[in-house]
């Protein structure tokens, strides 16, 4: 009894600290403290769990914690900043998997529950499994293990029937007093397939929103597991994350002007543009790094638009070096960040911060869009969809209505791009065909390096 009191008090304190920590993380000043507090709460909650009376398999438990925690700690330490989004996706998937695992243990044990608990058990199992397999697919896509968005024929019908079937089998299993091993296996196989099928066709700029949505899902699954196990710490932490995750997802989707419904049910594939024959007019021209260097060096104002291409090339340090050189020469340099640039909102902010770019040089879409008209050069580095003017003009385009950075309004536009193909989402970019636009082909790392050399030569 005494130790139960101790455990419950500790869980309560942990739950409160989680909320305070999350609150602290939503402000730049206190963010660092927030994660450290939450970390202490997590360690505390984990340690006191060993004091719950009557737990078996302690040895196995410690082994699993050491292995799982160790592998994740190590991989989290060595991963490059560029690859952060897929790491968040995979860790999130693991949380979903853990929630599904808890449900699986409960089902295999066959402990009878009342109707509400059974329902929550099944819901948590489905959501957790979907988050797990969906995050694995998201990880594979971002890691480049899977390059194309795969859209099945009759995708929406498949989604619909698979969802129906999963819930049907799940509730049957949940309400049955002693489900067979096969039924349980079938249920989890269906739920995992559902997650994979939902995420497979999604690509391009929609990916960050999906990761955030899956994150919220895992939170909900954890919360539901809290109800099943009668553990308020899990309920509070899970549901708080679920709700805040949903809000974050909405904020991101709003920034893209794409309702969440559309992201899931009519993903951007690029087919719409290719099939209806509205070909973009004009031709694409390139320029040399020397020309790029002189355009920027003798300009008054340069706006840099970073995208995932910069992240992949790891060019953020070079870009900042170039910006500093230009500023020494009296050129005003600003950075414009689209809300969904990169693979996660804020991804570019993190990378530029890593390179040492001060906050006051980094601007949001609303803050900077009017500035492009006065800029001599807009330097687009590995960004594509977020500067595509068809989002303003072409109603048939899948990205129509998404707010974009008005890079095309600048006097000159220089686009650093690896190859001639269309962007991640496969949509042709009308910006590249404009008269004021020149392409600078090559990896951002090399190309910006060459530009730096030429800028230095121009100083002499």
């Amino acid at each position: 009894m005494t130790s139960n009191w101790f455990v419950n008090t500790s869980y309560f304190v942990a739950a409160v600290v989680f909320i305070i920590g999350l609150k602290a993380m939503s402000s730049p000043v206190t963010a660092r403290k927030g994660i450290v507090w939450a970390g202490f709460a997590m360690v505390g909650a984990t340690v006191v769990t060993f004091f719950i009376p009557g737990l078996n398999n302690i040895g196995l438990m410690v082994l699993a914690i050491v292995l799982g925690g160790g592998v994740a700690w190590w991989s989290g330490k060595i991963v490059k900043m560029t690859d952060m989004p897929q790491m968040v996706a995979i860790y999130n998937g693991m949380g979903g998997g853990a929630a599904a695992g808890i449900a699986a243990v409960e089902l295999v044990k066959g402990v009878p529950h009342n109707a509400i608990t059974s329902t929550l058990l099944v819901l948590g199992a489905i959501i957790g499994s979907v988050a797990f397999s969906g995050s694995c697919v998201a990880f594979a896509k971002l890691q480049g293990l899977m390059t194309k968005a795969i859209r099945l024929p009759q995708q929406n019908n498949i989604n619909f029937f698979l969802t129906l079937l999963t819930f049907g089998v799940g509730l049957t299993v949940g309400y049955s007093s002693s489900p067979s091993g096969f039924e349980i296996f079938l249920f989890f196989a269906l739920a995992l397939a559902l997650g994979a099928v939902l995420v497979l066709p999604i690509g391009g700029a929609d990916m960050p929103v999906v990761i955030s949505l899956l994150n919220a899902f895992t939170g909900l699954a954890v919360g539901f597991k809290g109800f099943v196990l009668g553990n308020p710490a899990l309920i509070v932490a899970g549901i708080v994350v679920g709700a805040s995750g949903m809000l974050l997802t909405q904020l991101m989707a709003k920034a893209m002007n794409r309702p969440i419904r559309n992201i899931i049910f009519s993903p951007i594939t690029g087919e719409a543009v290719a099939s209806d024959g509205t070909e973009v007019q004009g031709s694409i021209r390139d320029l040399s790094p020397l020309d790029a260097a002189s355009l920027m060096r003798y300009g008054q104002k340069v706006i840099v638009v970073p995208g995932y291409g910069m992240a992949v090339a790891g060019a953020q340090h070079k870009v900042w070096e170039m910006a500093q050189l230009l500023e020494e020469g009296g050129v005003e340099v600003k950075f414009a960040i689209h809300p969904v640039a990169g693979r996660m909102p804020g991804h570019m902010n993190v990378l530029l911060a890593e390179a040492g770019v001060p906050y006051d040089k980094i601007f949001d879409l609303e803050e900077i869009n009017a500035d492009f008209a006065q800029a001599d050069v807009a330097l687009v580095i590995g960004a594509n969809d977020v500067v595509n003017p068809v989002a303003r003009t072409d109603k048939s385009s899948p990205i129509y209505g998404m707010p974009i950075l008005n890079a095309d309004m600048a006097q000159n536009v220089i686009v650093v791009k690896r190859g001639k193909g269309a962007g991640y989402s496969g949509i042709e970019n009308a910006l590249f065909y404009k008269d004021n636009c020149r392409m600078l082909y090559g990896s951002a790392q090399d190309v910006i390096g060459q530009v730096i050399t030429h800028v230095k030569e121009l100083e002499v």
């Binding site: 402000s27 899970g238 996660m344 909102p345």
Partner: protein
């Protein structure tokens, strides 16, 4: 847990989550997503309880329970490291800027 108490906790937690992160700057979206990803790593506690209450003579229960604890621990540890690294970057940059000016 008693059904209605649970429902009240659910509702209050949902409002809390919604309120806590409203008005967050875009610059913190990624770290915040990562941070909330860490917080649902508390699923580890649930997984430990599930494994702890599993029947030691039932290999299937043990295997699933072990996996759940493994995944939960990975969620918590990985989520923490990644979030901490991201936020540490903001901190370092800020102090260097303060020192320079």
């Amino acid at each position: 847990m008693e059904g209605f108490t649970a429902l009240y906790i659910f509702m209050l937690a949902a409002f809390t989550g919604y309120e806590v992160i409203s008005r967050v700057p875009v610059i913190l979206h990624t770290p915040l997503m990562s941070g909330s990803n860490f917080i649902h790593g508390v699923v580890l506690v649930g997984a430990m309880v599930a494994l702890g209450k599993a029947d030691p003579d039932e290999p299937l229960q043990l295997v699933i329970g072990f996996l759940a604890v493994f995944l939960g621990a990975a969620n918590a540890a990985g989520g923490y490291v990644v979030t901490e690294r991201m936020l540490a970057m903001f901190k370092t940059r800020k102090t260097t800027q303060g020192g320079a000016q």
